[in-house]
Amino acid sequence: MRRYLWRRIGLGALTIVATTMLVHLALYLAPGDPIGYLLNGQPATPERIAALRAQYNLDEPFFTRYVSWITGVFQGDLGTSAAFNADVSTLIASRFQTTMYLVLISFVFISVFGLTLGILAGLHKGGIDSFSMATATILSSIPAFVGSFILINVFALQLGWFPAIGGGDGSLSSAISHMTLPAIALAFSAGAFVARTTRASIRVESASEHVVTATVRGIPRNKVVSRHIVRNALLPVISLGGLLFVGLIVSTAFVEQAFAINGIGGLLVVAARQQDFALVQAITLILVISFVVVNLAVDVLYWILDPRIRSEVA
């Protein structure tokens, strides 16, 4: 187990270095000049432009910039955002919490909705199957920003059940009331994806030899379903869930914009558009670390759920 874990951690660290370097390079090579965004198309004197260039180290070569950035990261300094003129760690701290609330609540919706529909459709053929899959298809075809628009208009403006905009004041209760609508908007397509995968996986397991054997041996149906079908069918769904979780952090951008939530996704879009090196790098770092951590968690879960992996590694 220990070697298995260490190897995963080593791979994760390598992923982090490679990805941040790639993103750094992409930003460096991107056309356009961040100075334009700093000026926002407004008149400026050459002195003002020179001062801004010096302030944000825009004239240093690629490698110098990367090395000074990574050194800073190890010292806990993520740099200064050019777009916000503020310390990157301060900018990210409060937004990270907001986005995590959003992603976690959305993940709960995705799991409940996706697994319920998927398991129902997988175990029952006919009407229930068609209905579940049709629901999933319809919901998955609603883009997040259209979903947001409908949810805001119906549940916030017409019915007044939830706030229309904002991310709450940081407390759990206000986060839940503010994040419910955006989390649902975010959950539509990922939930449908989970439903389809679960259904397919259940079908495969239902037809497998050990299930057929268990059934003919007279084991009660509910035991077959819970121990032989669902448990095995969930393995691929868990690794999908891990990937979706990280993907959700990135795809919050649209929803955060529609609901005026100050989160990481929206921040990343602004930062990338304005070629804000420090900010893009810091958010990428968070995303890559989340990716590595979630994958590690998935690997550990596999280890626990699947005896085959344990024997393989041993």
């Binding site: 100075i35 334009g36 926002n40 407004q42 008149p43 916030a156 403006l157 914009q257």
Partner: protein
Amino acid sequence: MKKLVLATGSAALLLLTACGGAAAPESSASGEATSSGIELVTSTPAGVGPVDNVNWNLADGEPLSLDQNLSWSGSQNFIGNLMCESLLSTTPEGGLEPGLATDVSYTDATTLVVKLREGVTFWDGSALTADDVVYSIDKARTNEVSQFVGDLAAVASVEATDASTVTIKLSEPNSLIRGALSTGAGAVVSKASAEGNANFALPGDTSMVCTGPYMLKEWTAGSKIVVEANPTWWNKGDGKQLTKQITFSFITDPAAAVAGYESGELDGGFLIPASSIKALQASTVGTLGFGDGSAFGAWVPIVNTERSMSNPKLREALAKSLDYANIVATETAGAGTPAKAVGVPGSWGNEKAAYQAAWDALPDPVTDLDAAKKLVAESGVSNPELVIAAWSELPDSVNAALVLQQAANSVGFNATINKIGFDRAADLFSGAKKEDIDIFATTYLSFICDPLYIYSQIGLDAGSANWGGYSNAKVSELITSALATTDDAERAKITIEIQSLLVADYAWLPTTTYPSPFFMSNELSGAIPSGPTHLWYAWAVNLGTAK
């Protein structure tokens, strides 16, 4: 084209008629200003009752600093002016009245004496002194990134003569310095809070100390700025500071902001984007209004080349090819008026009758394609080239360029569009020679309510907005003499002469006035929405409940 009619008396804007169709209204033929019935306001009735908190949105995003000297963003001035007061105060009507100074007078052509108000304290309890004023003005004029370097260029020295007197010496006569001291250029910060403070007024920092009606309470970078009423404000009194706290948000997404206004989570906002105007005009929870002001749109021809725009006849032809009614409708949601000159009525702070008479005498901007074609023919240049610059990052800029291209081609130009990036900003907004561009669009505003301000910027050879390289000895001479004239009436007379010369020369091609759209909940009243006043005047000081 939509017709919007204001139901006067109730302050509510109602959409009464909406006649569709693409036909141009009668106005473009008659040259009459505008057919829309939108009433522009300079102020809203003062609020009557107290409010604990108002949520106000600033759609141009979070400021990079709250130091009013530092940038061109509206946000920082809208928040900054509530906290840091200027030596003089611009009234909603554009006049000047005492602020932190009881008097600012020219003692001779190159000397101003500032008499400070006695008994004013900063919100940390310390007293306002002449040293703070000297520090603040020097900061505004010497910091290389200050937006006021140009406005204060004539200032040679600022000295404290005694504890409550400051003497400003000019290197050359400049009658606009008094006006400049009513803008952020004259905003006073506590020297003790600013000097040597690397974080001063930067995101997240709340160490800034000023004297104004509101104090900086909280700044959560990337999220909100909260200001609260200053209990020790020198000018407090009945009907002022009714709003105890204002929470500023910076929602730039138009749909999200509209949802916020409609749900009541936002009580109001400035800088409403054009795409939200229709939705908010239909709102039942609040009112969308338009503040009058000095802002205008114009095409800036590059005249210091051998190319087409160096020819006044071709500039005139282009001016006559513009579809003013369409520009007003698309760019200002019908609230603007075709501008006869860049010193638009919203920029008049004094001698209004004289300026009005001169304005009435100016020719109306009229679309006259036949006259334009004739002018092109007379110019002696066949099929003159016209390269129109557009910001590739800004769709609205590209659209405006396409409209001009079509208009120019229809009267005989050979117009093309050159899409440029923001890296060209420094070059474009300077007097540098531009060989690959003949004309570009700008939205500009006079910081000071005196038309000489804008005319001196575009008419002097070294004027700070003379981006097209315009040069006219007679105009320069008149501007120099107007700058040396501190008497308002005398100065207005010369300014009017300058105006008629610049209009006749088509130095810039003004298109429309740009009223500032704002939204305010029906529960509230008292905001000052007129520009440039709301950039410099504590616009929320009378904000309170409407009933």
